[in-house]
């Protein structure tokens, strides 16, 4: 038991390897599990290892752990797939709160022998933890729609002021280390408020980036606390999360085509809203990544080519995508509507050019049978031929025409450049349907991006 804390090294390595594996789709699950083992090991070692001034309190500790585990598990089991980011945000807030808890207590333990280093570190942990705490809660609120965007004209000034005040206080405290009953509480209060004013002005669409950033904050707080306790695994685990979280934040910004700077300082990220409202309803934009994942992990994918595929000359890259998917065990077929394109057999010409085997081409009736089994219907530049108005809107000029009933499939992704109409010049309710997501852009480049994404997934 004496030297059990050497096992911290093992724990640290597990965390590192876990994080590493988490960053590749093929190993991500394993990585998560490894990290969890690392964490469990660290907790066990912490409980068992000899420490200075030990008072036990094991019952309470175990009780707290059990309680926390139960709550955590319930939370995580109950949450909807779609609500996961919120939950992560909430969890992160708890992590920050934990950092706050310990540092506030430690601050009050300061005495004359406390080194400047330790003092500064503890205050920093308190401050950063506080921001992570309330910031995460605000992010949670925004994601669940409970908190609205708040755009006080002076938001960024406020933030600046909080920052200056707080740093000033900490420096003051360190230089004049006289015990100051109220000071830690003031710092805490400011950090909590800072968390609020930091996140409140940022648009809801940017929340994932913010959560990632706040996650890095929690990591930093943990690392700082690790310094305070001279605990290796806390230090290293915290640093790891801090640095990888920062990079991840940058990457996420890049993936959204925004700069981290504009997210944080600008604070007005909400221009990048992803929903276009229309008289008919709301159009949902698909993210490239989601679409790629969806297709990669689908059983059956049905491609519905239309005139847009011809215009974009996307047939070859479509075949490439087909190949990538097929190699990964996905069944890909093509539903060919009799009037797709601009001449009889237009799609046949294209797909023959791309060397798609004839037996992958499914005609209208068979396709309509098959849609119920397809996980993703990928509409490549088709419009009129997938217009459900032909089935259910007697006032539509194309009412009664047989169309591809792709709404029977589980998900619909539409690749086109805009909300423009097709040949017949009529609105297409498909695009406003719940199941449908639009991926705007030239079909060829969209398919290329999808293919790259899918290939990069293993």
């Amino acid at each position: 038991m004496e030297n059990i804390d050497l096992l911290y090294i093992v724990s640290t390595v597990l965390l590192i390897i876990g994080l590493r594996k988490l960053s590749s789709p093929a190993t991500a699950r394993k990585g998560n599990i490894l990290a969890a083992y690392g964490m469990a090991l660290a907790i066990v070692v912490t409980i068992l290892s000899p420490i200075e001034g030990d008072h036990g309190n094991y019952l309470l500790i175990i009780a707290a752990i059990v309680l926390g585990s139960v709550i955590g598990l319930i939370f995580s089991k109950k949450v909807e797939m779609t609500a996961m980011p919120e939950l992560v945000s909430l969890f992160n807030g708890f992590g920050g709160a934990c950092a706050v808890c310990i540092s506030i207590i430690e601050v009050y333990k300061f005495n004359a022998s406390t080194s400047i280093g330790i003092a500064a570190t503890t205050y920093l942990a308190l401050f950063v933890g506080g921001i992570a705490f309330t910031g995460s809660l605000v992010a949670y609120g925004k994601l669940t729609g409970k908190v609205k965007d708040w755009r006080g004209a002076f938001a960024s000034y406020f933030n600046l002021i909080w920052l200056i005040v707080c740093v000033g206080l900490i420096v003051y405290q360190i230089i004049f280390p006289a015990q100051n009953e109220w000071l830690p509480l003031v710092v805490l209060a400011i950090s909590l408020v800072y968390g609020l004013t930091f996140v409140l002005p940022i648009g809801g669409a940017d929340m994932p980036v913010v959560i990632s950033l706040l996650n890095a904050f929690t990591g930093i707080a943990a690392a700082l606390a690790g310094m305070v306790y001279d605990n290796m695994v806390m230090l290293l685990g915290g640093i790891l999360v801090g640095s990888s979280g920062t990079i991840l934040t940058v990457l996420m910004c890049e993936a959204m085509n925004r700069s981290l700077f504009s997210v944080i300082i600008g604070g007005f990220g909400s221009t990048a809203t992803s929903a276009v409202a229309d008289e008919e309803g709301v159009v949902k934009e698909a993210s490239l990544v989601d679409t790629a994942i969806m297709m990669r992990y689908a059983q059956n994918v049905m491609v519905i080519p239309g005139y847009g595929m011809a215009v974009a000359q996307a047939q070859k890259i479509c075949k490439d995508l087909d190949k990538s998917l097929s190699e990964r065990g996905v069944n890909v077929h093509y539903a060919i509507h009799p009037v797709a394109g601009r001449m009889p057999g237009h799609m046949n010409v294209l797909l023959a050019e791309a060397d798609v085997p004839y037996n992958k081409l499914i005609d209208l009736d068979d396709a309509n049978e098959m849609f119920k089994d397809s996980d993703v219907s990928l509409v490549v530049g088709a419009n009129d031929v997938v217009n459900p108005a032909a089935m259910d809107d007697p006032s539509s000029p194309i009412y009664g025409m047989p169309v591809l009933e792709i709404l029977h499939s589980k998900n619909v992704i539409v690749l086109k450049r805009s909300m423009n109409k097709g040949y017949s010049g009529i609105e297409n309710p498909l695009f406003f349907h719940d199941k449908t997501k639009m991926l705007f852009g030239d079909a060829k480049s969209s398919l290329e991006l999808l293919n790259t994404e899918i290939k990069g997934m293993d």
């Binding site: 005139y307 011809a310 215009v311 000359q313 009799p338 009037v339 394109g341 601009r342 001449m343 009889p344 057999g345 237009h346 010409v349 294209l350 023959a352 050019e353 009129d384 032909a390 000029p397 194309i398 009412y399 009664g400 025409m401 047989p402 040949y423 017949s424």
Partner: protein, 364 residues
Amino acid sequence: MIIGLLKCTEESLVGLIPNVVSKLKKEGHDIVFEPGAGSSSDYTDQEYLSAGATSLERREILIKADVLITVSGLKADDLSVINDTSYVIGKFNSNVELVEKIKSNGIKAFSLDLLPRSTIAQSMDVLSSLASLSGYKSIITAADNFSGYFPMMTTSAGTIPPAKVLVLGAGVAGLQAIATARRLGAVVEAFDVRSSVKEEVQSLGAKFIEVEGSQEDVSAGGYAVKQSEEYIQKQKELIHVSAAKADVIVTTAAIPGRKAPLLIEDRTVTSMKKGSVIVDLAAATGGNCALTQNDKIVEVEGVTIIGDSRLYNKMGKQASLVYSNNVFSFLKFVFKEGLENIPYGHEIVSKTLLTTTKTEAVSA
């Protein structure tokens, strides 16, 4: 209802193929057919009988059937026999005389070549179906008459460059010609007055020849309209240059109800290489080439000029199949609520029904 299938002697097509007859039968209709109706397109009477149709004399069919199906063959004698209450389905519009007679006889005839070119009507659109066949066939025939390879060939007896194909008028037939020529490895250029066609042409991998300043009329429902003099001059010059380099020219340019535009002049033909081929699908309305003779193959200074607006007749069996499918869709649409409740208000009916006035049709 009783559906009568007439034999058409003008074209090697039949209005309903046995397969479609069975489908109609299954929907509860009775089909009577004129013996030999399918002979010109390789369907035997036996096949009709096994599909459930009954053989009858033409006259009897004319009298008994509620709906008469033909292609373009309706004789003047027939008209007097046909019942007031029965409908005739065919494609008559190119035969002005016949249309006049039909109208004067008060026959309720649907001419499918008058269908609107709308999305909903496409499954009945015989013009599209047949033009597609003609477009395909135009290249096959051109290739058969052309004295060279279509694809490029690097052989020990010399490198043979790919054939150059020029397609004038990129409607349904033109596009199909482009696609077929490209499949065979030819280098294809195309031209059309409608600028929206440019994208369509390029989507098939062909080059679009652009002439600036064309006139368009959206109200023409996708069809071309007549062009200004200046434009026509520019166009002629550009076409002349491209045509002189071409090995094969397919022309399909048409303006409904008018003479076909003259796109290839004498001098263009004479400047072409020997062994080249021109297929003129607009021959019936005067031809896009000055030297075209309708329904004839002529050779002018080594250039073969094939004038044939109904090339699909060379693929009678296939043509009958698509035609019958179109007719089937049309029947289903028009008579979906029986003989009495025809949706006269709908474009598809109002545009195709050959009657003197609309009111008449509605009152009928």
